[in-house]
C-alpha cells in the first residue's frame, strides 16, 4: 500500500475486545493492525490509509491515571509515526469521550493531526471541543458505520495536510473559530434571498445562530399585596434633570439608585429620560411614564399595596450586552433581597 497514510487508531477496552467494566483499568496496549471497529475504519479509509497500529486503553485508566496514560500514548505515537490519529468514536460514553479528546490533543502536541467522533453532549466535547476535530454522532454504536465513514474522510484530508473547511460543510462539530473569507454574494443579497426563501416556505439557514437562554423557574407570587414592599426598576434611562450623575445614553457601565422616599411623584422639573433608544420627549413631560411612582402613591393611600420601596433602580437599557445585563440583574436582585423587597415592577422601553 504505497502512498497510503499511516493511521493509528485509539479504542477503549470494550471496543478493543478486552472486556467491559471489569477491564476498565487496563493500561495502554499497543497492537499491530486494526482491532474491532478498526476493521471497519480500514474499509472506510480504503486505499488512502492503513491502520498500522491500534492503541487500546481502559476507560478508568485514562480517568484515574491520566498523566501515565498520556505518556504511554505519546511514546506509542512516537514509535508508530502515524500521519494521522483516529480516536473512537465514543458516542455517549463519557470516560471514553474524555480519553478520545486527550488522545487527540496528545497527538496534536506532537504535530500529528487527529480526529474523533462522539455525541455533541459527551463530556469529551464539553471539555476539549474547542481544541479537537470531532464528528458529531448519535448516542449508541448503531451509528458506527456512518461515524467511521465521516471520521475516515476527515482523517484522509487531515493526514494529507489538506485544510479543512467550515465545520458545517466538513461535518465536524463547530469549535467556535471564525475565519475571514469571501462570500458568494453581499450581505444584503443574502438577507433578501433568505427572506424570500422563508416567505415561500423553502429551506433557509440563518447566518447568526441564536442561543436562547434557559428558562427561569417563576418566583412565587406576592402573597399579601397590602403589606408588600414593591420596588420600581426602569431601563428607560431615568436621570435627575440635567443628568448630574453623567449617565450614558446607552450601554451603561452601571445602574443608578435614587431614593424616592420623600417624593409623591416624579416631576419633569426634577427628572428626565436620557436614553438613546427611543423618543424621550413624552417621558420628559411626565417621568412617571417610565416609573409609575405617582399612581403607586395613590394605590398605597387606598390600601391596595403596602409600600413602594424607597430605592428605585434606573439605567438606559439600550445596547447593553446580555452578560452585562445579567450582572446588573444579579446586583439589583442582591440589593432588593437585602432590603426585604417582596416584588418588583420593571418598566422597559
Amino acid at each position: 500500500m504505497s502512498g497510503a497514510l499511516r493511521v493509528v487508531h485509539f479504542v477503549n477496552q470494550f471496543f478493543g475486545g478486552v472486556g467491559g467494566e471489569e477491564a476498565a483499568n487496563i493500561p495502554l496496549e499497543v497492537r499491530e493492525g486494526p482491532v474491532g471497529p478498526g476493521r471497519l475504519l480500514q474499509q472506510a479509509l480504503g486505499e488512502g490509509g492503513s491502520v498500522v497500529t491500534t492503541l487500546v486503553g481502559g476507560d478508568n485508566y485514562f480517568s484515574e491515571r491520566k498523566e501515565e496514560a498520556l505518556a504511554s500514548v505519546t511514546a506509542a505515537l512516537r514509535s508508530a509515526k502515524p500521519d494521522v490519529v483516529v480516536a473512537g468514536p465514543a458516542f455517549d460514553a463519557g470516560r471514553y469521550g474524555l480519553a478520545c479528546g486527550e488522545v487527540c490533543k496528545a497527538a496534536q502536541a506532537l504535530g500529528i493531526p487527529a480526529v474523533t467522533g462522539m455525541h455533541p453532549e459527551n463530556p469529551g466535547i464539553l471539555s476539549h471541543g474547542q481544541q479537537i476535530i470531532a464528528v458529531g454522532t448519535g448516542s449508541t454504536p448503531v451509528e458506527m458505520p456512518a461515524a467511521l465513514q465521516a471520521m475516515a474522510r476527515l482523517a484522509l484530508k487531515l493526514g494529507g495536510s489538506q485544510e479543512l473547511g467550515p465545520a458545517a460543510e466538513e461535518g465536524y462539530l463547530p469549535r467556535g473559530i471564525r475565519r475571514l473569507g469571501a462570500r458568494e454574494a453581499p450581505a444584503a443579497t443574502r438577507a433578501v434571498d433568505m427572506a424570500l426563501a422563508k416567505i415561500s416556505g423553502k429551506p433557509w439557514m440563518s447566518e447568526v445562530p441564536v442561543h436562547l437562554p434557559d428558562r427561569v423557574a417563576p418566583a412565587a407570587p406576592v402573597a399579601n399585596l397590602k403589606d408588600a414592599t414593591i420596588a420600581l426598576v426602569t431601563t428607560g434611562g431615568l436621570v435627575r434633570r440635567g443628568n448630574p450623575d453623567r449617565q450614558s445614553s446607552g450601554n451603561p457601565t452601571r445602574y443608578y439608585r435614587h431614593s424616592v422616599v420623600e417624593l409623591e411623584s416624579l416631576s419633569g422639573k426634577d427628572w428626565e429620560a436620557y436614553h438613546g433608544g427611543y423618543f424621550n420627549a413624552i417621558v420628559n413631560s411626565n417621568p412617571n411614564y417610565i416609573l409609575p411612582l405617582s399612581f403607586m402613591r395613590v394605590l398605597e393611600r387606598e390600601g391596595v399595596v403596602g409600600r413602594t420601596h424607597q430605592w428605585i433602580h434606573a439605567m438606559p437599557g439600550v445596547g447593553t450586552p446580555v452578560a452585562k445585563s445579567r450582572r446588573f440583574g444579579e446586583d439589583i436582585a442582591r440589593d432588593l433581597k437585602e432590603d426585604g423587597v417582596d416584588g418588583a415592577l420593571l418598566v422597559a422601553t
Binding site: 418566583a219 436582585a333 418588583a344
Partner: protein, 77 residues
C-alpha cells in the same frame, strides 16, 4: 435579563413593556403589555381625566400580575 435574575433570586417581577416578544423570547415569566415604547404606563393621547383612570388601572393590572401564580412565561394584557 434583569427580570430573569430577579426571579432567580426569588423576587417576583412583572415586566411592563410594549415590546412583549423580547421578554417572552428571553423567558421572562410575567410580562404586562403596554401601550407604547415612548409612554409605557399611560396614553397621553387621552383626555387627562380619562388617562388618569387608565394609568391607575394599568398599575393595578401590573400589581395583580405580581400576585399571579405562573408556571411558564406569560403575557398579560
Amino acid at each position: 435579563m434583569i427580570a430573569r435574575e430577579l426571579e432567580k433570586a426569588g423576587v417576583p417581577v412583572v415586566q411592563l413593556t410594549a415590546l412583549t416578544p423580547i421578554p417572552n423570547t428571553l423567558g421572562v415569566n410575567r410580562v404586562l403589555a403596554s401601550a407604547a415604547i415612548t409612554y409605557p404606563t399611560g396614553d397621553p393621547s387621552l383626555p387627562p381625566a380619562e388617562e388618569k383612570q387608565v394609568r391607575k388601572q394599568y398599575l393595578r393590572k401590573a400589581l395583580k400580575a405580581l400576585q399571579q401564580q405562573v408556571e411558564k412565561p406569560e403575557v398579560f394584557y
